[in-house]
């Protein structure tokens, strides 16, 4: 039963064919069994989950439930959960218990979801493989020798391996979409400001986006509806009327369901540097969208090739500032041996942070330091504007932009750990949407000869979540890539 989508599970819960307690018990059993193989979780909250499930069942009995009531779900361990450990995958916060809920956590609690645990991730969300966690690497359920992508790898695996029907993630350079692509599920990065960052432990504040993982676009729409909303505690939270993101999905259409849709195909996303199997799967997906009535238009985003260098100035600059709060005084790790206050700071941070986090702090410190600010930080902000201008022009000619989510399928654990630049280039197609703040989704569109999933990215203009979800949903109505299940015992084929 738990293999169903949120929409299917909600029906069963409301019809009382199954209880949330039964669903949650099954989720916990699978999570506990799968932990040694995939290492998807950092914290499992069995008692809290069962209590929340019983409360959801009581609400359902009274007829008070909503579309998410009683649905088991996992949160990425960078989102604060009151009374539960929130580690960010770091030694620095290994024993940190969050004193309050993040906005999206609070929203999903109010919607009646059942929090089963916190998922493993790249340390402080800095990575594309979920290998840099203090708690060890996460493994891909399609083949445990491969990475699941990152940084929200644990959440992606929790959904892909059918441990839970839904999870949250955060996307700063691709950390929702890239792991969704590499594990064969759907991951949505909403418009910047649609989901409050309150209680999201900050990495790069102008780029951090919370968002949902689900098995279908429809599930992502249901989750986003609960996660979005205005929050005065985040000064960048957008005040807009609530939106039913699934509304377009339910709209009856003529045979050509995507008639009138103009798809932009950026030259820059469909050429060199894309693995041949990925390119072929993406082409086939585009042909399918065309069959559904969409028209194609080649567009150009000339500045987008600078996304990666722009990102690796701006994100580390913001990170070096945000992570200065970890000083061994107010929370988290403190070194045992030190001479004085300065030595305490230095040893605490040397011990508490891993190698990749340190590299980014150092990069950020350098680009912000005296004499380099204009050449690096200001320059990157100017090129960020050029990239945003490219997209603004493109959306005059097309409604959505389609291409691969990542240049290749999953790679082997350890393959890129010694080469940060190769690791960074995984996000070549996802970073631009973080820089512009516009929404984008990754959905499964194929499988390689080695049996690894391939992701299709659909990007839209600001606040066009409903449209990209609709395109993704119509594609999923016509294809079955999202129904493929990794080769694990408890998983069965489902819709």
């Amino acid at each position: 039963m738990i293999d169903g989508t949120i929409a299917e599970l909600a029906q069963a819960l409301h019809a009382r064919r199954i209880s949330s307690e039964e669903l949650t018990s099954e989720a916990l059993a699978r999570i506990e069994r799968a932990q040694s193989r995939f290492n998807a979780f950092i914290t499992i909250d069995r008692d809290g989950a069962l209590a929340a499930a019983r409360a959801a069942d009581a609400a359902l009995r009274k007829g008070d439930g909503g579309p998410l009531t009683g649905i088991p779900l996992a949160h990425k361990d960078v989102l604060m959960t009151a009374g539960l450990n929130t580690t960010c995958g770091s030694r620095m916060l290994a024993d940190f218990v969050a004193p309050y809920d993040a906005f999206v956590v609070e929203q999903l609690r109010k919607a009646g979801t059942v929090l089963v645990g916190k998922t493993n991730m790249d340390e402080f969300a800095m990575g594309s493989s979920s290998e840099t966690s203090w708690f060890g690497p996460v493994r891909n359920p399609w083949d445990p020798a491969y990475v699941p992508g990152g940084s929200s790898g644990g959440s992606a695996v929790a959904v892909a391996a059918r441990l839970v029907p839904a999870a949250t993630g955060t996307d700063t350079g691709g950390s929702i979409r890239q792991p969704a692509a590499l594990t064969g599920i759907c991951g949505l990065k909403p418009t910047y400001g649609a989901c409050s960052r309150y209680g999201l432990v900050a990495f790069a504040s102008s780029l951090d986006h919370p968002g949902p993982f689900g098995r279908t676009a429809e599930d992502c729409a249901l989750l986003l509806r609960a996660m979005a909303g205005h929050d005065p505690r985040d000064s960048t939270s957008i005040n807009r009327p609530p939106e039913d993101y699934a509304q377009l999905l339910r709209e009856p259409r003529a045979a050509k369901v995507l008639e009138g849709l103009r798809i932009g195909l950026p030259k820059e996303f469909h050429g060199e540097g894309v693995d041949a199997e990925v390119a072929a799967a993406v082409e086939a997906a585009i042909a399918e969208l065309q069959k559904l009535g969409a028209t194609l238009k080649t567009i150009s985003l000339p500045a987008v090739k600078y996304s990666v260098p722009v990102y690796y100035v701006i994100a580390p600059a913001e990170a070096s500032s945000n992570l200065s709060r970890f000083d061994g005084v107010r929370y988290g790790h403190r070194a045992n041996d030190f001479k004085d206050l300065l030595d305490m700071y230095k040893k605490t941070r040397a011990e508490g942070f891993g190698a990749e986090v340190k590299r980014r702090i150092l990069t950020g410190t350098y680009v912000l330091s005296h004499g380099y600010y204009d050449a690096y930080y200001l320059k990157a902000q100017q090129v960020r504007r050029l990239i945003a201008d490219d997209f603004r022009r493109a959306y005059g000619e097309c409604d959505v932009i389609v291409g691969p989510t990542a240049p290749s399928a999953a790679f082997k654990i350890g393959a890129k750990t010694d080469d940060p630049v190769q690791m960074y280039l995984n996000d070549i197609f996802t970073i631009a949407a973080d820089l512009t703040g516009a929404p984008a989704i990754s959905i499964p569109c194929g499988v390689t000869r080695d049996g690894l999933p391939i992701g299709l990215q659909i990007q839209g203009n600001h606040f066009d979540e409903a449209r990209i979800l609709d395109v993704a949903h119509r594609y999923q109505q016509a294809t079955d890539w999202h129904q493929r299940v990794p080769p694990i015992e408890h998983a069965s084929k489902s819709s």
Binding site: P309, R330, D343, A350, L362, T365
Partner: protein, 95 residues
């Protein structure tokens, strides 16, 4: 604009991260590759381009100057490494 080993030691100090000579050499090699990537930006003409500091061009909202928070002192100090009488303890800084 090549990054030197001295730069690495200087920024490690600014970032308050303890680093020994061997680690600094290793970090230097990796940062050097990262800055080769970053330096691609230097080739772009950005004359007259307004820097984009944010995904949305909106100004920071103002709120009423009123107390909205209750006292979370004890809650927030629970996770601190060393606390006494409601105060955070640090090594002596004034002799």
């Amino acid at each position: 604009m090549a990054l030197t080993l001295d730069d690495v030691l200087r920024i490690a100090h600014l970032a308050r991260i303890d680093i020994d000579a061997a680690a600094a050499r290793e970090v230097h090699a990796k940062l050097d590759a990262i800055f080769t990537l970053i330096n691609e930006l230097q080739a772009i003409d950005t004359t007259g381009i307004e820097p984009m500091s944010h995904a949305q061009d909106v100004s920071a909202p103002l709120r009423d100057d009123a107390i909205t928070e209750s006292d979370h002192h004890a809650d927030y100090q629970r996770g601190a490494p060393a606390v006494e009488d409601g105060l955070y303890l640090v090594p002596r800084v004034i002799e």
